[in-house]
């Protein structure tokens, strides 16, 4: 019986890690479907961004109250997971509270700290659930979240409450058993939060208490493994990808658009035909129609997005009722990547499905509404740029499809012929000088 549990535990752990690794591999493969872009320069600045933006959650602190609550969940979740190390070792070795004799008083102190954090996490999760479901916050009411994304957010919060409650209930039962001097339950001293729950357990016999303690222990760890495997399908993946996303964030001024050296060359060849090399090949793409033509960083962005909607809440187009929602741009990009990923899983390599990110997932009307004001980029706590995707898709619309509103076509021809976006004669450019 004893060994059976250990074997079962090892099997479950290995299966959970294997499944997660497999899906993580698919996500990595999907991200690398994007175009190459070198983002390794200036490691000092990049580490700084990782520490400040990802670890320190700097941008979250634009709203300090929410930032502190979010930080509590995050810190709680990470720190309490130290306890998982003990749980895993106990599971493999068939021991109980392996670290308690080794750490002595420190053990009691640590578990107490975990319990306070667990309580904090539960409280904040309840607050966040009410923010999402009771308070009428515009960014959570948005139609962007209709269906699965709204449920996803609630499932995450519920799961965290359940996991923390299991942890506390397990400790509560453990304490009653300790107090009764039950075999296997070694003395650890009392735990602050769970001792309150243990008051409810005083009437139960040792058998029931052991059953509660063991069930909670198993449900807690199996729950964590399940949650680990839920992450890659959820917006919650940001707890992992926020870190690389901050590291690889662009370091140039936000105003600088990515150059297109292939177009630069084409123009140079047109202006100076003598520079055309004999083996010049015209570029295959101008801008992006699909995820394959976006930078891999934009694809990492899409997987890092936790759909918080700070981008959309700051977007001037969205605020004034236009279709564009930067959050939806990121969600649509991830949806496309998942569809392409499934396609590759089925067919070994991508077989065309007659769909593209542009048009089938993101509409022309959305793209047209962007003022390139960088509010979305500035607002994102995890260094995502919806603007990079928008401008790349716009490039494809104009250069591959010649799809522009009539006014823009006039603007283009004015710039080309009159060197200004309006229909003025270039000779009048310095007319103002004569009026001084």
């Amino acid at each position: 019986m004893h060994y059976l549990q250990q074997i079962l535990f090892v099997v479950i752990s290995v299966a959970a890690v294997w499944l997660f690794a497999k899906k993580a591999g698919e996500i990595k493969r999907n991200i690398l479907l994007g175009k190459k872009e070198q983002l390794n320069d200036q490691p000092g600045k990049r580490w700084n961004n990782l520490l400040l933006l990802a670890f320190g959650q700097k941008k979250m602190f634009k709203n300090p109250l929410v930032a502190v609550m979010h930080f509590l969940i995050y810190a709680g979740f990470i720190i309490i997971n130290l306890e998982v190390l003990e749980i895993v070792l106990d599971g493999i070795l068939g021991t109980h509270r392996l670290f308690a004799p080794v750490l002595g008083n420190l053990y009691n102190w640590l578990i107490n700290a975990f319990e306070w954090l667990a309580l904090g996490v539960i409280v904040v999760c309840v607050v966040f659930l009410s923010r999402r479901n009771i308070l009428q916050l515009k960014r959570f009411l948005s139609k962007d979240l209709n269906g699965w994304p709204r449920s996803d957010a609630n499932y995450i919060l519920f799961t965290e409450i359940i996991l923390m409650s299991l942890f506390l209930t397990m400790n509560a039962a453990d304490q009653v058993l300790q107090a009764r001097g039950s075999e296997h339950y070694l003395q650890t001293g009392s735990f602050a939060v769970s001792s309150l729950i243990s008051l409810l357990f005083s009437g139960l016999n040792d058998g029931s208490l052991t059953a509660i303690e063991r069930s909670c222990w198993w449900l807690h760890i199996v729950g964590i493994f399940a949650f680990l495997n839920y992450l890659p399908y959820s917006k919650h993946l940001h707890i992992l990808l926020a870190f690389p996303n901050a590291y690889f964030a662009r370091l140039e001024p936000n105003g600088k658009m990515k150059n297109m050296p292939e177009v630069q060359k084409e123009v140079l060849y047109a202006m100076q035909p003598e520079t055309v090399p004999a083996d010049a090949v015209p570029p295959a793409h101008f801008g992006a129609r699909d995820i394959f033509e976006l930078s891999w960083k934009s694809l990492l962005d899409a997987y890092s997005c936790t759909e918080c909607g700070r981008c959309t809440a700051s977007c001037p187009a969205n605020l004034t009722g236009k279709q564009l929602s930067p959050r939806r741009i990121m969600m649509a990009t991830r949806d496309r990547m998942e569809d392409v990923g499934r396609n590759i899983n089925q067919n070994k390599s991508f077989v065309t499905d007659n769909k593209t990110l542009l048009h089938d997932y993101i509409s022309v009307e959305e793209l047209r509404a962007c003022t390139t004001c960088n509010a979305c980029v500035e607002a994102c706590p995890v260094s995502i740029s919806p603007l990079d995707i928008i401008t790349e898709l716009r490039r494809s619309l104009i250069m591959e499809e010649s799809n522009a509103p009539q006014e823009w076509n006039s603007t283009f021809s004015n710039i080309e012929n009159n060197f200004a976006p309006w229909k003025f004669s270039p000779d009048e450019r310095d007319k103002w000088v004569g009026e001084l």
């Binding site: 105003g255 003022t371 004001c373 509010a375 710039i415 200004a420 270039p426």
Partner: protein, 259 residues
């Protein structure tokens, strides 16, 4: 007051300290021309040796690039860089944040390397150095002014303080809009929106921003971009407040307040 073109300066065997890049709005738009003239007057008054490109200046390509027309952008950049490099230009000042952003951030990769400065930064420097002297009790003294952040100065290039310091020098009362600095709301003109109708929605962006500016109770809305200026001026007119609230560029405010 004489404004020299680069061609004239070259012919006279001289070279300017700085090139004033006027931009398309500053050259052709009647409202923006007033900003251009005010800034030229300031440069003249402080004794700057400056020149313009005149008819040789062309659109930087910013709206074309943001709309998605990279070919047109590259063509304009190529031409402009040929002209600028031909004259051996080292330093450029511009009254347009879009030209500023393109010249400063996007031309270097294409072979155009210049020291580029926005006029609000230059004004701040000139005030700090004492080269711009402001009248005691100027017309903005004690008046409420709200500064509208241009996206292409602010978020695009992290310039938030220089324009505010210039306004502080006017002895005015600076009142911030709810969304300011990094959270500033766009006027609605960027990304080539200036040149087309809005997409379907329930409000124009410039009206949303103007309402916010009007809510501060300021009598002046200060802008640092000719496009923002147009958008906010239209917004104020739309709300029928043009008799109470004026939209002015920082250059106009300083020019009107100099000794």
């Amino acid at each position: 007051m004489k404004v020299n073109t680069m061609a004239e300066m070259m012919a006279a065997g001289e070279s300017p300290d700085i090139l004033f890049w006027v931009g398309c709005a500053g050259s052709f738009d009647q409202r923006a021309q007033r900003i251009t003239k005010a800034f030229a007057a300031i440069l003249d008054k402080v004794g700057f040796k400056y020149a313009i490109l005149g008819k040789e200046e062309a659109c930087t390509g910013d709206p074309a690039r943001r709309a998605g027309n990279e070919f047109l952008f590259q063509m304009m950049a190529y031409q402009n860089i040929q002209v600028l490099n031909g004259y051996g230009i080292k330093k450029i000042v511009t009254t347009c944040p879009h030209c500023f952003n393109t010249l400063k951030n996007e031309y270097p990769e294409l072979g155009g390397n210049y020291e580029v400065i926005h006029h609000t930064t230059l004004l701040q420097q000139l005030i700090d150095e004492g080269r711009i002297k402001l009248k005691e009790g100027g017309s903005f003294k004690g008046k409420k002014i709200s500064y509208h952040d241009s996206c292409y100065l602010g978020r695009a290039n992290d310039i938030y303080e220089a324009p505010r310091k210039v306004l502080e020098a006017l002895d005015a009362e600076l009142v911030e809009m709810k969304r300011c600095r990094t959270n500033g709301l766009c006027c609605g003109a960027g990304g080539a929106q200036m040149f087309k109708e809005d997409e379907p929605g329930d409000k124009r962006i410039n009206i949303e921003r103007t309402d916010e500016a009007l809510a501060t109770g300021a009598s002046f809305i200060a802008s640092a971009c000719p496009f923002c200026n147009t958008m906010m001026t239209d917004g104020v007119k739309n709300r029928e407040k043009e008799n109470e609230v004026a939209v002015l560029d920082l250059a106009e405010m300083i020019a009107a307040s100099m000794e």
